[in-house]
């Protein structure tokens, strides 16, 4: 079957989709967006987390056909998504311009939570990272000043095997603090 959907703001179409395929498979294998990860494919690890019409979901548990006509945001679109949330007016403000720093790697633009994960050492193997970023970004969207218990509850659907979560806690706290400074 054919599935048409919007991913990271762009209309996308996949053909010859098997009816049992998940949204995760379509993103990874048909649309060239492997950012959402295939760690368990049973909704237990959160590494495939994306936003589906704004809601945080495990893309491995969304049948491809259910995504027809929907809007999906993946980690690949997270920087734009976060920027869109912050932009009150188009263009770069003076303060923002002054804070601008060169970023290695072809000038990649990062969402605050992405930068915080790098800065806080929250990335090791990185396989859980995309899902955690999408979940943590949503948390900060809903709750800009989360307590530690709030962070733990919000991220309890995302398993990480490398970090012991401490640096992930640091990263979310850091992103929240930076976000608060900006306002």
């Amino acid at each position: 079957m054919r599935v048409s959907l919007t991913v990271n703001g762009r209309p996308q179409q996949a053909d010859d989709v098997w009816e049992g395929e998940s949204l995760l498979y379509v993103l990874r294998e048909r649309l060239g967006l492997p950012g959402a990860k295939n760690a368990c494919e049973q909704g237990e690890c959160g590494s495939c987390t994306v936003r589906l019409d704004g809601e945080l979901v495990c893309s491995c548990l969304v049948a491809a056909g259910q995504a027809e006509g929907r809007e999906v945001v993946t980690v690949e679109g997270l920087a734009d998504h976060a920027a869109g949330r912050r932009a009150t007016a188009p263009g770069v403000g003076l303060d923002e311009a002054r804070r601008w720093q060169p970023v290695p790697g072809e000038g990649a633009r990062l969402a605050p939570i992405q930068q915080a994960f790098i800065d806080a050492g929250a990335v090791q193997c990185g396989f859980c990272t995309p899902g955690l970023l999408v979940a943590a970004d949503e948390l900060l969207e809903q709750n800009p000043e989360p307590t530690d218990a709030d962070i733990r509850e919000a991220l309890s659907g995302n398993l990480c095997r490398c970090t012991g979560y401490e640096k992930i806690m640091d990263a979310v706290r850091l992103a929240a603090a930076r976000q608060a400074e900006e306002v």
């Binding site: 993946t74 990062l110 398993l159 970090t163």
Partner: protein
Amino acid sequence: MPASGPAGVPTKITQGAQAAGGIGESTLRPDGILKVTGEFAYSSDLWHEDMLWGHLLRSTVAHAEIVSIDVSEALALPGVHAVLTYDDLPTGVRTYGLEIQDTPVLAHGKVRHHGEPVAAVAADHPETARRAAARIRVEYRELPVITDESSATAPGAVLVHEGRTDHYAPYVTHPNILHRQPIVRGDAAAAAGRADVIVRGEYTFGMQDQAFLGPESGLAVPEEDGGVHLYIATQWLHSDLRQIAPVLGLPEDKVRMTLAGVGGAFGGREDLSMQIQACLLALRTGRPVKIVYDRFESFFGHVHRHPAKLTYEHGATRDGLLTHVKCRIVLDGGAYASASPAVVGNAASLGIGPYNVGDVDIEALALYTNNPPCGAMRGFGAVQACFAYEAQMDKLAKELGLDPVEFRQRNAMEQGSTLPTGQVVDSPAPVAELLRRVKAMPMPPERQWESSEGADVRQLPGGLCNTTHGEGVVRGVGYAVGIKNVGFSEGFDDYSTARVRMEVVAGEPVAVVHTAMAEVGQGGVTVHAQIARTELGVEKVTIQPADTRVGSAGSTSASRQTYVTGGAVRNACALVREKVLEIGRRKFGTYHPAWATAELLLERGKVVTDGGEVLAGLADVLEGESVEIEREWRHRPTQPFDRLTGQGNGHVQYSFAAHRAVVEVDTELGLVKVVELACAQDVGKALNPLSVLGQIQGGTVQGLGVAVMEEILVDPVTAKVRNPSFTDYLIPTILDTPTIPVDVLELADHHAPYGLRGVGEAPTLSSTPAVLAAVRAATGLELNRTPVRPEHLTGTA
């Protein structure tokens, strides 16, 4: 043959000025941006034009003769390009293994464990491949299963492997015992007579899974010359290569291997998984073949941590000094050898922990059974022993009426101590100090779960499930310390290779570091760049993708990579530096006498004297030239343990960590909340302090997992795995994980590069017994097994 390369293959990473920094600084990961943007290409992300999907059919029974295999219906399915069984293997080499080549690429005549690969399929879609596999008819004639020591060594027991010819076979008392290592020192029986107190215990350690998140996967691309290029997530490219090439019937230079992104490893990628089958399918079909396990298959696709039965006797005098230790450690190696012999060596040689005991009698062995194969996992044999000897130390302290920390400190090993193997510890061993530090850390507040709105269930045992608002909750505190060897032991030639080039790019000096080290998340690439900056005085370092175009880096395991490949990079950098200075002398030596007389350094892109005088810019020195050196580097040699006495200088370095666990137990429901897991560890020298913390905290939580929830359950009657999924094999979530304050000690080991000490494994040892000790303190129960389940805390097991 495909003309274009695969999509998403690893690319070199250049890290520039923003992260300028040498060793000792918390520079950021060079792969961090790729990993947070989703662009980092893991092995399961790879894609190739014309690619096929491989899939393995696995045995549904644990032990059986294969009567027949019929693949005709599978081959007839449209979209299926190949179906391979044992009979299709191209050469006489049809088994592989890290040390003993006892593992069939595809089962032959017999399957020895549940989930053993029997056939391999390549098809145009993963679902086609699955449907084809389901059409393969395999007729099994079931055999009795060997599941434990008594069934393995019973009279007339079926042999898991008949006709063994491996080099351990002559020394074992039964062919179902893979390897046995005694360690005898002094006279434990006589020393027992001097003991005022003797405690005994029998302990059980459950089967733990590495549970790395990135599933086993890889892409094999056939090449024009008849060879194959394998993009793979592994811990050791060259070890894979050595095992793959003979099965394919190809010389090693026709099997090219590139490390794809690795989603965690923890020992579980030390053995091969789908490497050979993917290559075989690619060569058979002439098409690129990708295999990706799902989580269910992953539980069958790699070895696990050995479950163990441990029997201990400890004695001490009334004044709290250990008199002797006797122990017997029985590890279940499962159906194939994997790394079991080395695990036995570790369990035996580290079996009494970081304590001074003159009289010991240790025996460790690994069984061949029909349970899932077990092998390497973080902590490697030292974990199981630590759980048991630390429980014993608490028991003894209690019998003696001594504080458990004080009792440990009285017996703590130190630099100059002699191990049961007779080896003298010749670098700092701050066991007592680590215990002192971890005990001195401030305690977390009592009743931390109370809030103004009542009990915050998220901070209580049971968490979000709302099982208690404080009822039945009792706090307990426990301590533990452990000892882990660093690097490969017992005479193994444990070397690494580094190739370092220095050149000028766009007017700037750049160091290019090329090794075959598997970056599995530990941050080796970060450290290599730091070493190159420190040694070569450059800002820009390019880390080449790891592949087999450079010599072996050894395994990313045994806490060894920063030591050994880090050492190789440092060594190669030093040689490059000498060459650069030679060029400098040649070009500029006549302009300044210091070129000939002074100690010269490379700093901030310049050649400077030790007095700080700038002689030349590196860009000028290297104008029109580049310097490249590839060298192997090895740590001090070790010796094998004597087969009968276990004596020998078997290890090169040790790593020590201590933990204090604070837990709250809902004593009525048997649910545990770990409130805090404080750790103190000596790391010799923290090359990257942020990464060191990440290793310690990550290792700590893996230890927590096996203390309270993680266990692969194998049916004792059928030897089938009962919980191969993340629904029923539970690893800690962020709500199960406590705060983990860490106190890092840096006492240099002068035998090691920069004085560093391997970091990754030690914290996995002591966190488990610390949690168990705390749960014992809270409940008053003996708790001789791990993981401890609610049943064990409520008398309902």
